[in-house]
């Protein structure tokens, strides 16, 4: 099953990238995520591994995932090593200056689970989609608030610096 969510954020792609490339921030904006633990030596970049779980229905599902694509300020994609089969991607594209289109994609399932597997995927889809939508909304709010704070700090600094 493939689900996704997209949103436009009023910030340059570098500012959004700070959030989506930093595993320490995931628990603060990713909805439904109950664990996001770095298990590789490198916390980010190609080959970084995380143990992640998110709550769907009566269980926390997920497992070990590995980053398989990492292009600064543009793309980070992962695939599952153990646990639920999944493939996910953050896709960032700066359309106009200071405005970034953010997409979060996730395809998931259990290979070999047959009819009940596809039924479970469909039953879970609205919950998973809801989590992804809340995630991009929370990301937007946090990034834009951070932008506002930085601009205000810059203005204060400019005023303080002026004679």
């Amino acid at each position: 099953m493939r689900v996704g969510a997209a949103i436009d954020i009023s910030a340059p792609s570098e500012a959004v990238w700070e959030y989506v490339s930093d595993p320490e921030r995931y628990l603060h904006f990713m909805s439904g995520v109950t664990r996001w633990e770095v298990v590789s030596d490198e916390p980010r970049g190609l080959g970084a591994r995380y143990r992640m779980l998110f709550r769907v229905g009566s269980a926390e599902v997920g497992g070990l995932i590995e980053v398989i694509e990492y292009v600064e300020c543009r793309d980070v994609a992962w695939t599952s090593v153990t646990g639920l089969d999944q493939r996910g991607r953050w896709r960032l594209r700066e359309r106009d200056a200071g405005r970034t289109h953010v997409e979060l994609r996730l395809s998931y399932g259990v290979a070999g689970a047959g009819l009940f597997g596809s039924l479970a995927e469909r039953v879970a889809a609205p919950t998973v989609r809801g989590h992804l939508e809340r995630t991009v909304q929370q990301l937007k709010r946090q990034v834009e608030q951070e932008q506002t704070r930085r601009k205000a700090a810059a203005r204060r600094a400019a005023r303080a610096g002026a004679p």
Partner: protein, 303 residues
């Protein structure tokens, strides 16, 4: 491969049945022998992670949609190494708390983590339930429990067993291990932590009326099948359900399960701990949690 020792013991019991009175006694003894011969020898290798993984979506559907289950505190379970999970048991011969917890455990830690459950001999010798062995269910015996823990696995036990599982529905919010303390000796011997696992809601899946202890004794079931109860309940689709041998259709009661922080017995109770003191402590913390979970419920079944 572990030889259970149960088969021998049960065979002796079955043999004892031969001395029973007349035809009924001999028939029962014959049946007991049949059952005994079906009790599988515990082989930890029978657990099949691929099978478990492929059936998780089915369990997830049952657990999420039918029982609207919620499992809390899985983070309390030590991440690695052997651990003894001690649960209160509910729901007659069809125990939704086990399904819900097994799913949650396997999803949380991954099917790669070895995880076994002890079950009554009769459950494992029931035709059609052999798939349970692929889930890691082994016959309940001290030998099997030790083998599982020695292999570094997590082991789920329900000390209350058939006594607790058939308690009347109005005692649904009571932890009742019937004074069985074997699990504590096991944890002390193997030096493994105990994680209490408390579940609520299972006793609302049917109207359980009586354990039928006297009935079981007068029919000599305790000697023939190690069965101390012959429960009486009102359950779907049978109406009046005597014995619950064929199972029943559980009502979709909301199930909530909570795993509590681990108890490291030697650290908390000293190098030569008193088994009775530990037993009282485990029962107390589980009963307190069950009371808290019960107070969250407003209506039976609906939750």
């Amino acid at each position: 491969m572990a030889q259970t020792g149960i088969a021998d013991r049960a065979a002796r019991n079955g043999h004892a049945g031969d001395t029973g009175r007349g035809l009924v006694g001999r028939l029962a003894a014959g049946l007991a022998e049949q059952v005994t011969s079906r009790i599988p020898v515990a082989d930890l290798d029978e657990r099949d992670p691929d099978y478990i993984r492929e059936t998780l979506p089915r369990q997830w559907l049952l657990s999420s949609l039918y029982f609207r289950a919620e499992v809390r505190g899985l983070g309390n379970i030590p991440e690695t190494g052997p651990v003894l999970l001690v649960g209160n048991h509910s729901g007659g011969n069809l125990t939704p708390d086990t399904i819900v917890f097994t799913l949650a455990f396997c999803a949380y830690f991954g099917v790669e983590r070895p995880f076994y459950q002890l079950a009554h001999n009769l459950v494992l010798s029931m035709p059609g339930l052999s798939f349970l062995r692929k889930f890691g269910t082994v016959a309940a015996s001290p030998e099997n429990a030790q083998t599982a823990l020695d292999s570094g696995a997590a082991l789920l036990v329900y000390p209350g067993g058939d006594h607790e599982v058939h308690r009347p529905s109005w005692e649904g919010h009571r932890v009742d291990f019937d004074g069985r303390k074997g699990f504590i000796r096991l944890a002390l011997e193997r030096d493994v932590p105990i994680v209490p696992v408390v579940a609520v809601g299972g006793q609302e899946t049917a109207l359980f009326l009586s354990r039928g202890r006297g009935l079981a004794r007068s029919l000599r079931l305790d000697r023939l099948f190690r069965l101390k109860v012959l429960p009486i309940s009102l359950a779907l689709p049978w109406g009046l359900n005597l014995g619950d041998m064929l199972g029943h259709i559980p009502l979709p009661a909301k199930i909530t399960v909570e795993a509590l922080p681990p108890l490291y017995l030697q650290e908390e109770f000293g190098p030569h701990p008193d088994v009775n003191e530990i037993y009282d402590h485990v029962i107390r913390v589980m009963q307190d949690t069950l009371d808290a979970l019960a107070s969250e419920r407003r209506l039976p079944v609906i939750g």
